[in-house]
């Protein structure tokens, strides 16, 4: 019986992640539109885009690795969301824990790098090298934050971390216990989602959307699906670590949508940093803040 429940969870959790992820994409595009005093896309726009891109009748593939790269990019996130507990479903979160999750969140970038590499487009290569450098930058504060929280609750088990926060109320939430780690985490989230000050690897006007430059049809559709999962995984992880997870579906959705909305609102205030400046900035400020938070915890 135990394994059956797990199987249902494993099928349902990516599906939910996809649907909530599309909602997040819609939210981001709506916020962008409202900040620019536009009306913005209709409600089902993310779905239309994905269906249309998969329905292209001629597809241009650059080879086997190009296709495997996209599968890896989506697959990494599908594996990651099964490690993220949602209200009522734990999936394999109890067996995986934070360390497996940190590994899983790295797979998509590597898959994308493989896929883009075979396209042999110079813009794509420049884009992906910038994306990997940015990953190198934000992974340092990310890992410090994740393990700081794990130290705070004395466990790398996400289920236990969430249960402890929910049992103690708001006073035991990660954001109250260690606000410095939460701020560093928010910084890392902005870089992880590739939002504006850290948007150099996409740069539509300069390197023609970087990694996406040779992606058309189902490949771009796959990347759109990946974006849904990326937003979901990042915001659910942040919610679980700092905002006590979701007691029920309503608070879960409210919290995750709120977390996603923050980077988007900040994004439009900034132009973008160059790659070396991203590394310098992210290795300096969020890392310092996270280390300071860690020092307070260990004190």
């Amino acid at each position: 019986m135990e394994s059956q429940v797990n199987l249902v969870d494993l099928v349902l959790m990516p599906l939910i992640a996809f649907i909530v992820g599309m909602l997040m994409v819609l939210l981001m595009r709506k916020i962008a539109a409202r900040l620019q005093r536009r009306i913005g896309p209709p409600f089902f726009q993310p779905l239309y885009d994905i269906v249309k891109l998969h329905g292209k009748q001629t597809q241009i593939s650059h080879g086997l690795i190009h296709e495997i790269g996209i599968v890896m990019a989506i697959g990494g996130y599908v594996a990651a969301v099964t490690l993220l507990p949602v209200p009522g479903m734990n999936g394999i979160a109890e067996k995986g824990g934070l360390i497996a999750l940190a590994y899983m969140l790295m797979i998509p970038s590597l898959g994308l790098a493989l896929g883009v590499g075979q396209c042999a487009n110079p813009n794509g290569s420049i884009g992906i090298s910038r994306a990997l450098t940015a990953m190198l930058a934000y992974d340092i504060p990310f890992i410090i934050v994740v393990f700081g929280v794990a130290f705070m609750f004395g466990s790398t088990n996400l289920v236990q971390i969430i249960a402890e926060q929910q049992a103690g109320g708001i006073a035991t939430w990660g954001i109250v216990q260690s606000p410095l780690l939460a701020i560093a985490g928010l910084f890392g989230l902005q870089a992880m989602l590739g939002k504006q000050p850290f948007e150099i690897y996409i740069a539509p006007a300069e390197i023609a959307t970087g990694p996406m430059v040779e992606m058309g049809g189902k490949f771009l559709g796959g990347l759109f699906v990946m974006q849904c999962f990326q937003l979901y995984a990042a915001s659910v992880l942040y919610t679980s670590l700092f905002l006590g997870g979701g007691e029920n579906w309503i608070t879960f959705l409210l919290k995750t949508l709120f977390v996603v909305e923050i980077p988007m609102v900040i994004a439009f205030l900034f132009p973008r940093y160059r790659t070396e400046d991203v590394v310098r900035l992210v290795w300096k400020w969020p890392t310092l803040i996270a280390l300071l938070g860690l020092a307070f915890l260990m004190h």
Binding site: L47, Y48, A205, A208, V213
Partner: protein, 243 residues
């Protein structure tokens, strides 16, 4: 000057579905696909002339194309619509054709401004291609010098309606009547004209071969066509060599 017959107007387009479908739900599926395709259009704007000036207001807060699901994209691989705004010189036309052939189908071409319809004020220019639909299958013309954003959006809405009805399939025409388009291209660019995309083998692969795919012009192409080979990888940076 041009008579009214010279102005290209396509009429009486009918719904053609020549793909073989065995699934009983294929009809429903196709309708759903048309519905989605009509509501999500990624646009590559090839702004050669003054028509480009009317596009920013159509995209930004005043008229906001995104509420119709239309958004700009930056590479031909990602795009559905090729928006040619303004005159196409012989040199630019080569690039437009290369760009068009890289786009994944279904793809649509929109000619904006009277320059794409009949050459407009460049009618007497030796270097300007007059009718765009001699060289590419154009889905929609938006005439005017230049058309206002309202007209552009009205044109895009018409295209959207055509897609939803399944009538906007002139991209198939490029495969089925490739000889016709290639003939016009060869007339301008010379007999040696060749693009990196092999349209005939693509048509074979996707089952889009028509009566007019092969002809005298493609025979000429076969004679001149050189097989495409990957470029040699080499790095030539003088500073590195000197060291």
């Amino acid at each position: 000057m041009s008579s009214i017959d010279n102005i290209p107007v396509k009429q009486g387009r009918t719904k053609v579905r020549q793909r073989k479908r065995t699934n009983p739900l294929a009809g429903v599926f196709d309708e759903f696909m048309d519905f989605c395709q009509a509501r999500s259009l990624f646009m590559l704007h090839y702004c050669t002339g003054c028509g480009a000036i009317e596009l920013p207001p159509a995209m930004t807060s005043r008229f906001d194309m995104e509420r119709l699901g239309i958004q700009p994209m930056v590479t031909p691989r990602q795009a559905d619509i090729l928006l040619v705004t303004g005159y196409v010189a012989v040199k630019t036309l080569k690039r437009v054709i290369l760009t068009y052939e890289q786009m994944p189908s279904p793809k649509y071409v929109i000619g904006i401004c009277s320059c794409t319809v009949n050459g407009g004020m460049y009618w007497q220019s030796y270097a300007t291609a007059k009718k765009l639909n001699d060289y590419l299958p154009v889905d929609m013309y938006i005439a005017g010098c230049m058309p206002r954003p309202e007209a552009v959006i009205a044109g895009l809405r018409d295209l959207r309606r055509n897609i939803e009805r399944g009538e906007a399939n002139s991209w198939e025409d490029y495969f089925r009547n490739y000889d016709y388009y290639l003939g016009h291209q060869q007339r301008l660019f010379g007999e040696n004209w060749q693009t990196p995309t092999n349209i005939i083998s693509e048509a074979e692969h996707y089952g889009l071969l028509g009566e007019g795919t092969r002809g005298e012009h493609t025979a000429l192409l076969d004679k001149h066509q050189e097989p495409l080979e990957a470029q040699e990888m080499k790095l030539e940076i003088p500073e590195l060599k000197r060291r």
